[in-house]
């Protein structure tokens, strides 16, 4: 657990050194003036927080600062951190609450967001918790996607249930559920083909996959995770909204946090869609996945 948090922090080091790092120095610099607020808003926008959310966060900070008579910059920074953490914690919840014989986790996202890699990491995470994990290779569309997930499966020591390319992904899911039962697996992770949230037919296909899982396993899928690329800008909100509408996303995996991007849109997603971030992925190794901790995330953004 400490190791995971450390890797999340190290992933955020680069983040710190740029924009949010500048927030720190900004807040530390002597007097709070009108420019301070504007600059703060700018910095949030540059971290992909989005103009609307940035404005809301800064306004909120202004209010709390005024109400609490915050005068010095150190206090202001603490207040700001607290506000940001609260924004994320307001929607936080544990991953996979409750217990059941078979946990079905559906993983969705746009093309190239990092689904397959995140799935490998998630499989490793479950294995380490002592779960018996299977992966369903339901991306039967993209060239060599099945090979890719199989290689990952081998690397983390998890069996992959796959059909031929171009096969019906619903059938793969059905088989994978049967296999989970017969092999006594308690966690089934479903890899789906990347799809843009604007493609109606492909989103319908996803809804179908979901309903197949639902029919086979009580209340499945127990988590529907949307993998978001941290480098994505404002479109992330559209993605979360559309995937949410079509397949009932329950949480976000923030991938590629080791890049210089901050994934600032998680604030908008938390605020507008009430969706929690459950995991943060920070690198290309299978160990680079951490349970998302708002405190650590925000603190990481401010540390110097």
């Amino acid at each position: 657990m400490f190791g995971q948090r450390a890797s999340l922090r190290s992933g955020l080091t680069k983040t710190r050194q740029s924009f949010f790092g500048r927030i720190t120095s900004l807040l530390r610099s002597s007097n709070i003036t009108e420019d301070t607020w504007e600059e703060l808003e700018t910095l949030l926008i540059q971290a992909d927080v989005g103009a609307k959310t940035a404005l809301a966060l800064v306004d909120q900070l202004r209010e709390t600062a005024q109400a609490n008579g915050v005068r010095n910059a150190d206090q202001l920074q603490q207040t700001f951190q607290r506000n940001l953490v609260q924004a994320l914690e307001a929607v936080a919840r544990p991953y996979l609450p409750g217990e059941r014989l078979l946990n079905v986790i559906l993983v969705v996202g746009v093309n190239g967001s990092g689904k397959t890699t995140s799935i490998a990491k998630l499989a490793k995470y479950h294995k380490q918790r002592g779960d018996h994990v299977l992966i369903a290779a339901a991306d039967t569309f993209r060239a060599a996607a099945i090979d890719q997930v199989k290689i990952w499966g081998e690397r983390v020591g998890v069996d992959v249930i796959a059909h031929q390319p171009e096969a019906d992904p619903g059938a793969v899911v059905y088989d994978a559920i049967q296999a989970s039962r017969s092999r006594g697996a308690n966690v089934l992770i479903i890899d789906t083909a990347g799809r843009l949230h604007t493609k109606y037919n492909l989103m319908q296909e996803l809804a179908k996959i979901r309903s197949i899982a639902q029919k086979q396993v009580h209340q499945a899928p127990h988590e529907t995770l949307l993998v978001l690329d941290a480098t994505t800008g404002q479109n992330a909100l559209n993605q979360a909204a559309k995937f949410g509408e079509m397949v009932g996303v329950t949480g976000v995996v923030l991938a590629k946090l080791d890049s210089t991007a901050k994934g600032g849109m998680v604030f908008a997603i938390a605020n507008e869609l009430k969706l929690p971030v459950l995991f943060a992925a920070t690198g290309e190794s299978v160990d680079d996945l951490a349970v998302f901790d708002p405190q650590a995330y925000v603190q990481g953004l401010f540390e110097d």
Binding site: T140, A143, D147, W152, T198, Y200, L202, T231, Q234, T260
Partner: protein, 493 residues
């Protein structure tokens, strides 16, 4: 979800009591909208600042005073500035002794491998002999992916497994291209972070080893504020010659392209607009500008349509309509063509001001099913029946219903609607042009004929836009409108 900038600015001006000439104050108010719109489109903060300043300076000028409405004037200036900043469409540089090396680079998941295949197909169609090179030795199955794509499009792929260093693979590929007479070598490199020193150094080596004529950065249209830092770093290390924007078929506005263009000065060359190898478009600044501003993209729609309808046939169909000879066979072929243009949602998004409709439409999702049913019914007719709808007697209709898995009343309804439509069309087409076809009435329902099948896995997707026949005449455009209307009529049962 998106409100177009034009609408917003219009709104702003409605709130201002005065109309007519733009004062400095008016401009400042509008620029707030422009700023927000651009930020929503993921244009980099600093670029937005420069941009709004430039627009501001122009807007308080004389041009505006002469214009019709202030809102139009501002939008026009914003659009012009955007187009100017996005730069001219740039062609690939394939000059010099062959083979010309094209190198693709970018972050993970930006779409390099797919784009490599698209470019290969595009160049192959232009008579080149491309060789794809699998230089991504890191991502599991990346090589297999490129090989599969190569097979799909009939282009050779050079790979040496994942144990050989990419610069070596690329150098070998170049030798092979020379020997085998390939005219183009396309290097698909692994995705990497611009801050990964080791991997960036590897890219430099690839560049040195192959002396590419084009070094193309592949950028996801959904990229946020970081696009600038990424592009800048790649540009410094491997001196980019062009940009390719991918996943433009989504609803991202692609502001990243503007940021990168203005920071690096590198021209944008192509856009990826789908998952199939044929889904490649040449970059047009005016279209991207409209998109960034959320103003739709009529030109793309027209071009898509041009790919599907040739003038000859449109003329022939129009004549048939005029003589009330339009039959089920014609109907089916027209319907199929329209459906090939893409999903209804996708089409709507291309029409200025229709962005809002998309949301509403996705509420009513039955049009797709209904179209399938309609086509199934027509498919169950014999060719004779399709050509001569009059043949359809109750017993034939019964058979058709059974054949297509629908009820008899459904077949009856289709036939009846078709007859009505046919009659109506012959009236409209038969001369009385003056009446004027209703121009897609406000709050319009798009023709039901425009369902979509955007490359469903396993489905025979649209075959990709054929080279467009230029200069669509007013007449064919009018005809198209009529066809749309006719479908709409049919839909109204």
């Amino acid at each position: 979800m998106f409100e177009s900038l034009a609408d917003k600015i219009q709104e702003t001006f409605r709130n201002l009591s005065r109309k007519g000439h733009l004062t400095d104050e008016d401009v400042q108010v509008t620029l707030r909208d422009v700023r927000l719109a651009l930020l929503e489109a993921d244009v980099n903060y600093r670029v937005v600042k420069d941009f709004t300043k430039a627009v501001g300076e122009r807007a308080v000028g004389a041009d505006v005073a002469r214009s019709l409405t202030p809102a139009q004037a501002v939008v026009k200036i914003v659009n012009e500035e955007l187009v100017r900043m996005l730069g001219e469409p740039a062609k690939l540089d394939l000059g010099g002794p062959p083979p010309a090396v094209l190198m693709l680079a970018g972050l993970q998941g930006s779409g390099k491998t797919t784009m490599a295949a698209k470019l290969a197909l595009h160049l192959k169609d232009k008579g080149q002999r491309p060789l794809l090179v699998a230089a991504d030795t890191y991502r599991p199955a990346a090589i297999a992916q490129l090989e599969t794509l190569g097979k799909q499009i009939g282009v050779d792929v050079h790979s040496e497994g994942d144990k050989v260093a990419p610069p070596k693979i690329c150098a070998n590929a170049l030798k092979r291209a020379n020997k085998e007479g390939h005219t183009i070598v396309l290097l698909d490199t692994a995705g990497r972070l611009q801050i990964n020193e080791e991997l960036m150094a590897e890219l430099e080596k690839v560049r040195e080893a192959t002396r590419p004529r084009e070094v193309l950065l592949v950028v996801d249209a959904m990229t946020g504020q970081e696009a600038v830092a990424v592009a800048d770093a790649f540009n410094q290390r491997i001196q980019l010659t062009g940009l390719i924007l991918t996943k433009v078929d989504g609803d991202a506005r692609g502001g990243a392209a503007l940021s990168i263009r203005s920071v690096t000065g590198v021209p944008i060359k192509f856009m990826g607009v789908g998952e199939r190898p044929s889904d490649l478009e040449i970059f047009y600044p005016d279209r991207l500008a409209s998109r960034i501003l959320g103003m739709g993209d009529m030109l793309t729609l027209i071009e898509k349509a041009q790919g599907q309808f040739d003038e000859e046939e449109s003329k022939r169909i129009a004549e048939k309509m005029a003589k009330a000879q339009f039959d089920f066979e014609d109907f089916r072929s027209q319907m199929r063509k329209i459906r090939k243009l893409g999903s209804l949602e996708g089409l709507l998004k291309l029409i200025p001001g229709m962005g809002g409709m998309v949301e509403k439409l996705s509420q009513a999702k039955d049009h797709e099913k209904e179209l399938n049913r309609t086509e199934a019914i027509i498919n169950s007719m014999t060719m004779q029946e399709r050509r001569q709808p009059k043949l359809l007697n109750p017993s034939r209709k019964e058979r058709i219903a059974r054949g297509s898995g629908v009820t008899l009343p459904e077949v009856n309804a289709l036939v009846k609607n078709f007859e009505q439509m046919s009659r109506m069309m012959s009236q409209v087409m038969g001369g009385k042009k003056a009446k004027g076809m209703p121009q897609m009435p406000p709050g319009m329902k798009m023709p039901a004929g425009m369902g979509g099948m955007p490359g469903m896995p396993g489905m025979p997707g649209a075959a990709g836009a054929a080279p467009a026949s230029r200069g669509l005449s007013k007449k064919t455009l009018a005809e198209r409108k009529k066809k749309k209307l006719m479908k709409k009529q049919r839909k109204k049962r």
